[in-house]
């Protein structure tokens, strides 16, 4: 296996490649993250997102990428009844969408470019393709929200994406868009889906939505959810295969 890491978008992206891939493919995949960062970063005054937020761009001037990200966010905002929002406190914040979207795009580029067996992990949100070795399947641990030295559990994944939102380290950073208050029902929400752009937004949306979130995500999107509430009770919705060795 060959491991690659890349600092981008305020986090670290790692690629675990288990079968050979064409030269330049990994660099190209990492470039997609840098392009997304340049386009969507709220911390760069010249990003397209910042310019849109300042009202400097008309609707018809937006890039296809920005339209796609905004459409994704708006769709989940509607579907979640406003619990998930790109517009907290009247601002424009695409962070809840961009990382998963960019990682899914990079994984697509890797697969299309000839990478067969890999796991791409963007700051804890990941996409697995192929297998980690002969006769093996990918196994992903979920970090415990209270203690990075512990795992909530380990899940077997085939060609799947997994995203986790937690109230840890960065503090309570997920807001329920309906009330504007910090979402407090869950400590940790992990969503498994085929597509990381969906799983990432759903993890945030379920966290924001509270108790009804896991069943909502499964009924509406077919995603599987593993969620730990503030009292330490674990909720599992959908089909989850726990690893056993």
């Amino acid at each position: 296996m060959t491991a690659f890491t890349h600092r981008t978008m305020g986090t670290v992206v790692s690629l675990d490649l288990r079968s050979p891939a064409p030269d330049g493919l990994v660099a190209r995949a990492f470039e997609l993250f840098d392009e997304a960062d340049a386009r969507f970063s709220p911390f760069r005054a010249d990003s397209e997102l910042s310019r849109l937020g300042r009202g400097e761009l008309d609707e018809n001037e937006l890039s296809a990428e920005l339209r796609e990200v905004l459409a994704l966010g708006d769709a989940f905002e509607r579907a979640s009844g406003g619990a998930f929002t790109l517009h907290p406190a009247g601002t424009l914040d695409a962070n809840g969408v961009v990382k998963g979207w960019a990682a899914q795009r990079a994984a697509g580029a890797l697969a299309a470019g000839g990478a067969r067996d890999f796991c791409l992990n963007a700051g804890g949100d990941l996409v697995c393709r192929g297998v980690p070795g002969a006769g093996r399947r990918w196994q992903a641990g979920i970090r415990h929200p209270h203690d990075p030295a512990r795992l909530l559990g380990v899940i077997v994944l085939d060609e799947a994406a997994m995203a986790t939102s937690g109230a840890y380290e960065r503090g309570a950073h997920i807001t329920d868009g309906r009330s504007g208050a910090a979402a407090a029902h869950w400590q940790s929400v992990t969503v498994i889906d085929r597509d990381l752009s969906v799983a990432d937004v759903l993890a945030t949306a379920v966290f924001a939505m509270g108790a009804d979130g896991p069943t909502w995500a499964h009924a509406e999107f077919g995603a599987s959810v593993i969620a730990l509430d503030a009292a330490g009770a674990l909720t599992v919705v959908g089909s989850v295969e726990w690893a056993h060795d």
């Binding site: 600092r7 769709a75 992990n121 804890g124 196994q139 979920i142 030295a149 380290e169 674990l234």
Partner: protein
């Protein structure tokens, strides 16, 4: 975004009883990236213990934390470079939990091992009790906590620090 109405049978399991304070343990077989995705205090760095790379032996390298030593990442593996393998210390990265530093062993340009030189102590804090709906689920989940791990979901400054240290070692090796 596509809506999926899959009609999959839904089972929501709300849990009670049985604590699961068993520490998540990374058992690293062969050359798993688990070596490069840290669970400090759990001996994640032990991956390279069997890789024969040997930890960095240069002076001034911090001792492994007691926990990573317990995981088997011995720093006494020998010289920093031998027989085509090279071991490079990564930078010490500061995280909210404390400093993280790794040593990466290369065979040519390929990473063959990652060892934890410094890792924040994970244990000793709040021992949260997880509650499960059924004993069967509790069994499955707790069993999984000691399964092999290829990657980890859930962002952590610690793992970012760890990966940054790995990256710095890779950069130095070039």
């Amino acid at each position: 975004m596509t809506r999926r109405w899959q009609g999959t049978a839904l089972f929501a399991v709300i849990m009670a009883g049985i604590s699961a304070t068993v520490a998540g343990r990374l058992i690293v077989g062969g050359d798993s990236l688990a070596a490069a995705l840290p669970q400090p205090g759990t001996g994640a760095g032990s991956a390279s213990g069997s890789q024969g790379g040997g930890a960095d032996a240069s002076s001034g390298a911090p001792s492994p934390s007691p926990s990573s030593a317990a995981g088997g990442s011995s720093a006494g593996g020998g010289a920093a470079a031998s027989g085509g393998t090279t071991t490079v210390n990564g930078d010490t990265e500061q995280t909210v939990y404390g400093p993280v530093q790794v040593a990466v062993t290369f065979s040519g340009s390929k990473i063959t091992g990652v060892q934890t030189l410094q890792a924040p102590m994970g244990g000793g804090r709040d021992q949260m009790l997880t509650q499960y709906a059924t004993p069967q689920l509790a069994q499955e989940v707790v069993n999984s906590q000691s399964a092999r791990v290829d990657t980890i979901s859930g962002a952590t400054y610690t793992s970012e620090g760890y990966l940054a240290s790995v990256q710095s070692a890779i950069d130095k090796h070039k």
